[in-house]
Amino acid sequence: MQIVVDLNRCEGYAQCVFLAPKVFELHGEEALLYAPAPPAEQAERVRRAAAACPVQAILVGEQAGADAGTGAGADVR
């Protein structure tokens, strides 16, 4: 699972911090820090946090391009 928070939108309401404190954390008064690849056991809490965010700033999904392969010129579909 990967997450990204659109911090232009985030207004530091901290709902996510209450719902998944191991993943989201306020750094100072309103700067949000988060773990971009939370462990599987946090998945449910992360989904709840994303749903609760009043500005819908949290995007949850599988890692983009995980099927892309790596290495020089790797050509994977």
């Binding site: 699972m1 990967q2 997450i3 990204v4 659109d6 911090l7 232009n8 985030c10 207004e11 530091g12 750094h27 100072g28 008064e29 309103e30 700067a31 949000l32 820090l33 988060y34 773990a35 971009p36 690849a37 995007l59 949850v60 999904g61 599988e62 890692q63 983009a64 391009g65 995980a66 099927d67 892309a68 392969g69 790596t70 290495g71 020089a72 010129g73 790797a74 050509d75 994977v76 579909r77």
Partner: protein, 455 residues
Amino acid sequence: MSGEFKSGRIVIVGASLAGLRAAETLRDEGFTGELTLVGDEPHPPYDRPPLSKQVLLGRVPAADVGLPARRQVDARWKLGVRASGLDPAAKEVLLANGERLPFDRLLITTGTRARPWPHPEEARLDGVLTVRTVDDASRLAERLDAGPRRVLVIGAGFTGSEIASACRERGLAVTVAERGPAPLVGALGGTLGSFAARLQRAHGVDLRCGVTVTSLLGSNGRLTGAELSDGSRIDVEVAVVALGAVRNTEWLDGSGLAAGPRGVACDAGCRAFNMYGIVTDDVFVAGDVARFPHPLFDYQMLALEHWGNAVEQAEVAAHNMVNPGPLRRPHLAVPAFWSSQFGLNIKSVGVPTFSDQVTIAQGSVEEGRLVVAYGYRGRITAAVSVNRAKWLEHYQRLIETAAPFPPEPGAADRPTAPRVMASDVPDPKVLSHGPTVALTGHLPDRRLAVLRPMA
């Protein structure tokens, strides 16, 4: 006919945030043709903002910063291979491994790279690093884990300041050398620049402004120190070069496109211009590498190194790549970015460098919570909040409607007599860090447009 727009071959050069979001939008909009993404890094797309924050603080491993997919893109990924040229007549992208990728439409999202230390021998010293890629951040985090006695950060723009903040939070001694008069001054002007200088010093940063690093010193291939233009010398084991970004446009040399060190010029619909200023209809640009005219800012060509711009411009470019003329959209989003450093949340809307005056519209420097509004010729063009993100939306609306500057009193804690000061945005040439927003060139026509938010 919309059929021809929804099929064919699309190549996206640049497999980072903008490239990824464009690919997803193409599929969302019904593109069923062949899609290829080319990226010079061997990694799938990842998110850069955490690199200078969570990753340097040691809270998140660099390998974790992948991006979530919005949907499947059913694309061919060519990662770890650089595009080396573009043949616009044959409509082919040339790759460094000799391969040629034919396309019907091309999207350029090659972004930027860290500006290297100008002396190559010194740059090779063990301990001299930059932070742009996931590999850079991972190397620097490792160095910081080892507990160096002192870190030197060269350049006090946003990246340099965030790096210095991470070092202090880890309890490491850090010297910041900035050629300009203050940190962040190139992006935010004098008022917030002097605020940032006080902030850094209060957090124990050895901040030296108005100086340059004249040489990095080494012994047996390892960095041992640095000499500054004021004659001083410091002992350091790690130096981070944070001198801003260089746009990745060299591969377009000879392509006939309007591409150069300032980026690839395009229209508000993300279509690239050729070197004669004629718009192309099959080459599109988005993200950090694009320069585009924005009606809110006198149609000046903006080049924005912002996360939000990469996403929004990629969406517009992708939409326009698969839709005919009348359905095409302009990229009119109001620029916005954020930074967190020294425990503060700094957010910006509009273009602070597009200003002649500022005023502290809410809060105060003393409380460490404030909104600074920026004006240009009597209208509001930007606002920056420090630990006051919730207020920013109000200013965004004022910017979008070209409201007068200084702004009307809005909130209760506004200082009684708003003091309007010069915005003090210095000439970018005197800074060691490039400004986050580059204002480059303008159309002769100086009409002011009132931008309405898109429905």
